[in-house]
């Protein structure tokens, strides 16, 4: 027993990598379709947006890059779909330098293709990227045209129909920051106290624990945390909107719900690793003390 435990503790870590690889790849090839349960923070975010009357302008900030795309992309796309179904005009921007703009363009291209009647400038607009997160938020509190004088197509902001009546960030009904890193926190700690505009956060799972403090303090109206949160959001969307349920069922593209099969399997594998590692350690320790 002690010999086996010793062997396990000295196991080449590449075997573990291989098992993790198989644990992730297998459910992608052979989907299981495990159920997704929803949690309070996601429901709060979803219900807040659902309760907005048609025509309410919302702001979606793509504050992440390709490195966290698998987690953040489904969040942003789910929110866009909800807004377009609910007829909520969306102002899109990004404060994340490396890839934020490209990801915003890609998400808009994918989702707007699903809603053929949408008009750029009326139902949505892309204001693009701006450097200096906190300073941009300071500017947004006074006037959108300060930090964003034009959209990504070069149209002056005053000539964009959706921006009529939207002077500052105080005029939007909610800010949804899909984020990795500190930019998402800035919306809560820098923009919200000044303007009072409600904030929903979509952090990566790594950043989520810190956001719970903001959520509990009432600084957020809801939170969509990591891939699990995005899968919950997709489930809520599918439950209330049949057209989106059909879309999520039939799409060939990546969705958070599809990723949750692999998440579940790999969590099981990792828990198994932790148990085996600890048992092997204890057995080795005990046999070592007997020999001593």
């Amino acid at each position: 027993m002690a010999g086996l435990a010793q062997k396990l503790l000295g196991l080449d870590r590449r075997w573990l990598f291989l098992l993790v690889f198989l644990g992730v790849a297998t459910p992608i090839i052979l989907p299981i379709g495990l159920p997704v349960t929803t949690t309070g923070p996601t429901r709060s975010a979803y219900e807040f947006v659902e309760a907005l009357p048609p025509g309410s302008v919302v702001l979606l900030s793509f504050d992440y890059g390709p490195s966290s795309g698998p987690e953040n992309d489904p969040m942003a796309e789910g929110f866009l779909r909800q807004c377009f179904v609910k007829k909520l005009p969306v102002i899109v921007c990004t404060l994340f330098a490396n890839g934020g703009l490209t990801l915003a363009n890609n998400a808009l291209a994918r989702v707007t293709a699903e809603f053929p009647g949408l008009r750029y400038g009326v139902d949505y607009v892309n204001l693009g990227y701006k450097d200096g997160s906190a300073a941009v938020m300071r500017g947004l509190d006074q006037d959108f045209a300060g930090p964003f004088p034009a959209d990504t197509r070069g149209t002056p902001i005053a000539q964009i129909p959706i921006m009529r009546g939207i002077q500052s960030v105080r005029d939007v009904k909610v800010v949804y920051s899909v984020a990795t890193g500190v930019t998402g926190e800035y919306w809560i700690t820098q923009m919200h106290p000044q303007s009072g505009t409600p904030v929903i956060s979509g952090p990566t799972a790594v950043g989520a624990p810190k956001y719970y403090a903001y959520l509990n303090a009432g600084q957020l109206v809801g939170m969509v945390a990591g891939m699990k949160g995005a899968a919950e959001y997709e489930k809520l969307l599918a439950a209330d909107h049949p057209e989106l349920a059909q879309l999520y069922r039939s799409t060939r593209g990546f969705t958070a719900t599809k990723g949750m099969d692999a998440q579940t399997v790999i969590h099981f594998v990792i828990i198994l690793f932790i148990l085996i590692g600890n048992i092997a350690y204890l057995v080795t320790k005990r046999s070592g003390s007997i020999h001593a």
Binding site: I28, A217, F254
Partner: protein
């Protein structure tokens, strides 16, 4: 070869090169790492130039100088930052940097207080008048956790037997917090692997072997 297909092939091969580090360090991984760093820097410069520098500085100055001449000040400060590369003029950059740092401290200081410190403190101080067992229990755990962790991090006075026990309790709270953070971190990292394998299998291998 059709361009999207070529793009998929390049992305797939670079993904495999990057993951090859898990087996052992090799030239293909090094190549991918350097390429990624270079492309990221180029993307950052291009985006900042086209999305911030041109619309917020160059265009206003060239189209309506009379109403935007004050933009010359931040523009000049930006140029001064690069003086550090001059052998004898490096000190000039410090003035621009000092203004830059001072601006962000001023901006951050009050809003950090109102956006982070005060709301979190307000959350800690809740009235006990509400006899809701859940609220009281939750708030009690919250308050005990915050205070015991603060005691653990109080290094200005040697701990006596009482504070030592409180600090010990603080360690348990910290361990629970680290455990939750670790669990979320695992979930986050696995999500990235899921994204990459999803791409490799569904967007690259399946079309390659004729599965749609």
């Amino acid at each position: 070869m059709h361009v999207p297909v070529l793009g998929t092939w390049i992305a797939a091969l670079l993904t495999i090169f990057a993951l090859s580090f898990l087996y052992k360090d090799n030239p293909l991984f090094r190549f991918t790492e350097s390429l990624f760093a270079g492309v990221s820097l180029g993307y950052y410069i291009g985006t900042t130039l086209n999305q911030t520098f041109v619309p917020n500085l160059i265009m206003p100055l060239t189209h309506d100088f009379a109403n935007n001449w004050d933009l010359l000040v931040p523009g000049l400060l930006g140029v001064l930052l690069y003086m550090r590369y001059l052998p004898k003029g490096g000190w000039i950059a410090r003035y621009a940097l000092a203004i830059f740092v001072a601006y962000y401290i001023g901006l951050d200081f009050t809003r950090r207080l109102h956006g982070e410190v005060l709301p979190q403190l307000a959350r800690l101080i809740v009235p006990l008048s509400k006899f809701d067992s859940h609220t009281i229990l939750y708030s009690l755990v919250f308050a005990v956790g915050v205070l015991s962790v603060l005691v653990y991090f109080f290094f200005s006075k040697e701990q006596d037997p009482v504070t030592k026990r409180v600090a010990r309790l603080g360690i348990y709270f910290l361990m629970v917090s680290f455990g939750a953070a670790f669990g979320f971190t695992v979930m986050g990292r696995v999500a990235l692997l899921i994204g990459r394998l999803n791409f490799l299998i569904l967007d690259w291998i399946y079309p390659l072997i004729g599965i749609r």
